[in-house]
Amino acid sequence: MEGWRVIPLRIDDPFCSMAIDEAILKLNSEGKSPNTLRFWRWQPSAVSLGYFQSMDREVDLQAADKYGVAVVRRLSGGGAVFHDYNGELTYSLVCRQDELPRDIMESFRVICGGLINGFERLGLKACFAPLNDVEVGGKKISGSAQTRKWGSVLQHGTILVDPNIRLMFELLKVSPAKISDKFIASVYERVTSLTRELNKRPSFDEVRDAMCAGFADSLGVRFEEGNLTAEEIKLAQELKAKYASSEWLNKR
């Protein structure tokens, strides 16, 4: 495994990010895009829904509107994630299926190994929590989702830098009665962040660099910095309309 591409840290519109994911996945499966690691921040902040989730059931759309938070549906399954522009970094890895174990849990374990190696570089001992989480001290610090299409794999996920937990629960439909101080305190028992664990807030570049080195080390690959190709940008522009359509958003 060598000759992978890493894309410089981006800031993208939520629909655009989802379209870029699919464009790289599709073109990778056709042999037109290299295996690729990408990091980005979401602007505006957004809730991403798993492919099988119902938007109405999971997201408080009034709250999303009030805070200017977008809602997107991912190509991958799994749960809803709040991507906070100020407190969260997202990674996305696309590669050929034959680079990874066939078994889904094992492939999550392999890719999450890159994150774990990255957290170690930042000074934290992290471990894989099946199926799709990475934990520090028994608390979730990263969650991932994966899809496989056309012979390639897309795995993307969240790296919690310093998320606004209270806002997260205002956006996600937990029964409003539950969003008490006690409930928020219980979330702090289960979810943590880089800022909380390190007692200081690392920069997004610092986190990105550590994770990139972690993936290179753990996957045994060498990354070359490269931007999106003209073909990827063109396909992403075409796909963006799908992600922004109410048909896609209200799919379930």
Partner: protein
Amino acid sequence: MYYGEFKAPKGVIKVSLALTEGVISEVRISGDFFMYPEEALDELERMLVGVKASRAELSALIEQFYEQRHIQTPMLTPDCFVEAIMTAVGR
């Protein structure tokens, strides 16, 4: 419409459905699970229409769906979907 949720070891399956004389006439499954290939869930919903909402019939149908389509749902079994549907119909 009937609605029910089943909390699996990993993920929650949410089912809303309509029954006509004990037979499923409409069904929508959602949740935070993983299913490969993803498009197969649409197919499962179509397969469920016209099926009697009984544990035995659902179980046979969903097992068959897994086998025919080579479905993978990490940390979820076919039974989780049966349970979710039975919870929705209140049994």
